[in-house]
Structures are given as C-alpha cells and as structure tokens.
Amino acid sequence: MTFSLLHATDFADRLLYKIIPPLKDGMIVLADRYAYTAFARDATRGVDRQWVRELYSFAVRPDLSLYFRVPIDMSVDRLMARRVKLKFYEAGMDLGWSTNPVESFRMFQGKVLDEYDRLVEEFGLEVVSAVGSITEQQRIVRGLVSQQLQINHVEIPDEQPA
C-alpha cells in the first residue's frame, strides 16, 4: 500500500506541475509511463484493482495511450543485453518469489504483463508490437499519432478569432 501511495504522490506532483499546465497551453504532452504502469504494478503486488483505479481518478485520461507489448523472454533478453543491474523492486525481489534476481524478474514482470493485457481491453490502449525493429515501431507510432491529431483537428471547427 505504501509503495502504491508513494508512487501516486509522485504522479500527482508530476501531473499538476508537468502535465496539466502544458495541456492547458495547448501543447502535446508525451508521457513515458502513466497511471497504467501503476495499475499493472500495484495489482501484481496484491493491491485491490478497483482501489488503485479510484486512487488515480484525479488523473487526466490520455487522448492516446500506446502499449509496447513484448513477450516476457524478449523483455528479459533486452534487459540482459544492456547489462543493467536489475533493480530490486523492478524485479519484485521484495515479494520473495525467488532469490535469483533474473528469475524473480521473470515471474514478477510476467504477472505485470498479464495485468497490462487486462488494461488493453479495459482502457482501450493501442497495442504496438515491440518485437519489430525500432524503425518499424516508429512507423506504426507515427501513424497512430497523426491519426489522433487529425481526429482532434477535425473535431475542433475553425476557430475564428473573436
């Protein structure tokens, strides 16, 4: 619970200072991770799903949410390739599922990915396969983003200066 609430506090701070002001100014805000990260992570840690959703009800609903989906093996391989040291909490080591960081990461992140699959349906996340090359992914992302921007553009009738 504490873990979940600390993240929510940090999120609220970023939302109010870094996200809402530029939105009000008409800017496009790109958020690397959003409330969905918390939904997936906290549920995996055993926090009540509905409670977390209500907790974050102060958040702005994104116009477009992209979810980069990879199979768990590829996720582990990519992390290993970067030779990063797995972070204690990222690997869910605190949950005591395994004493081996890589094994713990695989188990924990596997459950996190399952949670993301629920979110895709529930919140209509756009799934981008992150298996392909960076160029390929970027092509898809640009397609989705420009589509979104056009929709918004059409929705707003020509603004006449008053």
Binding site: M1, T2, L5, L6, A8, T9, A12, D13, L16, A35, R45, G46, V47, D48, Q50, W51, R53, E54, L55, Y56, S57, F58, A59, V60, R61, E122, F123
Partner: protein, 254 residues
Amino acid sequence: MNSQPDTPDLANAGASSDIQAGRYYGRGIPYLPIEGYPGKLIAIEGTDGVGRSTQIQLLREWLEVKGYGVIETGWTRSPLMQPTIELAKSSNTLNKLTFVLLYATDFADRMEKEIIPALKAGFVVLSDRYIFTALARAGVRGVDRLWLRSLYGFGIAPHLVFYLNVDVKTLIARVLAARGMDFWESGMDLKVGDDIYDSFRAYQSKLLKEYGSMADEFHFRVVDARRSIDKIQEELRKQVAAFLEPGAASKSDG
C-alpha cells in the same frame, strides 16, 4: 482514472451505512486479511489542541493498571514518512492533493506495520487522531469527499471512535493558554488573511463543522470536551469499560 468515469464503482469504496467495527472500511488490503484478531482499536478524534493527548495518556495508564497491553499510534508518526511530511510542510511547495496522498501514505505505513500487527497480537491500540482528521482537513480544502473515502478504504473501522467535541470559543482559550496558535492549525495555507487569530477562528470553525458532519456516518461517540479533564476521562473510561468488559460494567470501580 476509472474505466467508467460516469459510474464509478463506489459501492464498496467508502464509508456507507454498513460500516463494521474492526473490519476494513472499503476494499482493504487484500494481502493482509484481518479475520478474528484479538486486539481492539480505539480512536480519539478531535481538532487541534482540544485535549486528545491528555486523555489518551490517562486512558493508557488506567488500561495498563487493568492489565491490558496498550499501544499508541498517532498522526504522521510513521518512521517512513515523518521526515518527508515535515519537509513538505516547511517548504510550502506541495499542493493539497500531494499533501493528502502523503498523509495517506503515512497512515498506510502505520496500518500495515503498527496497527494491524498490534491488533493481531491482542493489544488495545489507542489512536491519537484517525482518518477523520485527514478527511476533515482535506474536506475543508475542497478535495472530493467520495474520492477521499475510497482512498481510505484500506483503513480499519475502529471499535470505538471518541470525538472530543468543542466550540471555537473554548478551543481558542485552551490553545492560547497552552501553547499559542500554529501556522497549519490556523489554516494559514488557505491564505484567507494575514491575521493568525482571525484565520484560526475561521478555519477551526470550518473544521469543527466538517468533523460534525461525519459523526453519524462514522459512528462517532461524541464527548463534550468543554468540561474538565477529569469529567471527560470519567466518561471515556465508563464507555471503554462497558465495551471491553460488558459483563462487569455494572460493578463500577469508581
């Protein structure tokens, strides 16, 4: 952010009429089931400087003499959060939402690490303030009340909630005699004026109203705190005794 923004599922989220003493208010902490623990949770609520600590100290001595194991817990006293909250208070950079969440984090930490373990071990837990202080302070600052109730759904409904009720006039006299008015207790962050006396008066009146509005919803046992320390204590002991030892209640021990 809810999947169905129009109909948030608050049926189990907040405090409704089906509050059960000793159980979670709302959705609880799924990985910490709390069935049939032996301890008891007693909350002493009331606004700043009303005399909570005085009463708790007396209650504690009395309970210990009777042979109960007693543990006290208080607001923003978790080892995890206290430094952060003190820092936030002193820097003035936090907005009301982050403040509410920091308080909730502190409470969650104490819930998991202090209150629930103590209840499972059979202690009488005396809580100096409880979630109602957080609800009242956030409520007067315009934070959504339904959201607040859902947020605190991981809290346990105390077996007894004593609310030390006072009027602003008595409160002002008591606080001035004891230690003077403090920036936060005067709601100076709300910037209604520069005068600390006027601000204290206006802010505490609002707070008292907010507390009062929760009395039925959360089953407060309202205690008239305008009386002497001894009179208040006498009433608390009578009610606590009747709760802890229902059979012995008639055989008063004076």
